[in-house]
Symmetry: C2
Amino acid sequence: MKLTSIRQELPAVQRLAYLNTGSIGPLPRRAAQAIAAEAERQLLEGRVHSKQFIEESPRFLTALRARFARLLSADADEIALTRNTTEGMNIAVWGINWRMGDEIITTRTEHEGGYLPVYAAARRFGLSLRVVDIGERADPTALLAALTPRARLVVVSHVQWKTGAILPLAEVAQAAHRVGAWVAVDGAQSAGAIPIDVRASDVDFYAVSGQKWLCGPEGTGALYVRRERLSELAPTYVGYSTLAPYPAADNAGYFLPAPGAKRFECGTVYWPALYGLNESLRWLEEEVGYEWVFAQRRAVTERCREILAETPGVTIHSPPHEAGLTVFSVAGLEPMAASDALAEMGVMIRSVRDPDRLRVSTGFFNNEEDVFRLRDGLLKLRTKI
Amino acid sequence: MKLTSIRQELPAVQRLAYLNTGSIGPLPRRAAQAIAAEAERQLLEGRVHSKQFIEESPRFLTALRARFARLLSADADEIALTRNTTEGMNIAVWGINWRMGDEIITTRTEHEGGYLPVYAAARRFGLSLRVVDIGERADPTALLAALTPRARLVVVSHVQWKTGAILPLAEVAQAAHRVGAWVAVDGAQSAGAIPIDVRASDVDFYAVSGQKWLCGPEGTGALYVRRERLSELAPTYVGYSTLAPYPAADNAGYFLPAPGAKRFECGTVYWPALYGLNESLRWLEEEVGYEWVFAQRRAVTERCREILAETPGVTIHSPPHEAGLTVFSVAGLEPMAASDALAEMGVMIRSVRDPDRLRVSTGFFNNEEDVFRLRDGLLKLRTKI
């Protein structure tokens, strides 16, 4: 019953076997309506905002940061609004006062949004780079072994985008902190898919995207910056939104950043998208309920795993009981071509590379029928081999 | 006649005396329609794009970069799509291989999007910072005098946001190049207001916003990176869009950026806004025509200046025959309060600070009547003193 009404709120889910939320999630009607309403207002009334808007918008942004804070078990002033997880990871990596020879540690299986800033900063600042293999089960042993007193930053994903495995963050963070290193987490595949508690996991930075499991618009996201790090991480890309209230700068090189993580925000955004994001988050938090989201997501993921395990030719690579991603191979099917062929049948999943595999995302809004459509599609492709 | 049909395309201009394009411009109906159509498609069909979309989107983005390239007299592969001018200025400032003691030069009257990255980079890399006074007429003398062989970068605005004065870029760039320094230009108040020729002006980096004089959506913009600098400026914030086609990275710290200025692009964007931007630029280029845009803008700015000059109590601070901004004071009126009071009369201008003044923006779509409404509003406020 509840699932039925949820699926009615998500038109794309009714139309397709929508199993690619790990790339980008379905948008709820109310988010689209909020975007359209503000876009229409901008067109007709102009975007030179009224005094009322200017006074109200900081309150709106604070409330939006607070929504992310509750999701992550943080405080609102530890949240910077960003454009995506990638921007958050860049803010964390570039904000450290690097010294030549400092060690930066990451894994062989990060997304581009995580490893590229690490590679770029390592080259720029002459850092010692350690890229470790945590395997398909996100075993932290190699990460822990790589930690030395020269380590400054560990860059990892909470949920691994190519396996769905969950890294035990608290174990990594505690070991990192023992040697004086910080931990920056790519949360693109966790936020909205599994519960997150940045305090319990003890990490320093946690970056999330709005458009995946949180069903928000593209170009939105947030970065958690642990309170103690707010004054230890320098803003890198800076602009008007970085500043403390006027006057916050002189003509000699001094400027005072805003209190809290707002100091890491930079530049104008497409404002209607923020209204849409707020509606997506409000819906998940206040109507669907995050506890229900996580429990339902877990149940449908487990059911997906069962169905795939019973499908001839399928090998599942993801460890069980993890996040919303299930990575698998099908004997005789080339993943990229199979993904394209499934899309033509209305079954939306994706392929990943290194190694080449298929990846299915199961969200709180998916049902068994979606997974059966995937299975039927795979069986159909198998008959053509 | 032409102006009438242009104003019909811009609903906000019909409703208000829309004289604040320097903050944010009016949106044409066709841009709003393109945004709404893609937003609706995303809602109904999902945002997991088809194979066709994935194949077509690089062509769309190349065509969008080409629109900016034609506007700036550059080549498409010298254009990176950004979120705003501020992002472009950050890319330019942070991408230089700074050495401690290098000199960076800017003016006392830059926007936050220009001077803040300069201040932040100066602090981070131990640069020698020179902040010079170019006065109300954008006299480059002090800039030229500040250039020494240790200078690496000069950060200036083409059109000064607090006066509207135009800096003679070629003079600055040629002097900078003689000592081996590069020039990064904040073009927020020039792109769409005056002709720009990055080759003739000989600058190295030129950042523009979509949402001001180009009448595009917020959160859009572009950065010109001169061909010779593409391999000399390092990408700082990096992500998936930075990369060359797969495989472009290994597990040991190596990655190959995309050819051309695409290497400076980073992270997901709100895709419907790009469609809107493309429609705004298409309209200006193919239907209104940039030559007409610039000539009409100039004519209405000059008329605005005449009308203000004849208005009792008004002192104009902007030099004549410059860009679309006219900065002025009115005896007895506090600028911020006056701007708020005018907004209540439907007259949209803005105040600036240091020094406190009023700023009116006149675009190609404005008419004499808009300026008379401003004058009448000012006279009404003067009677209340």
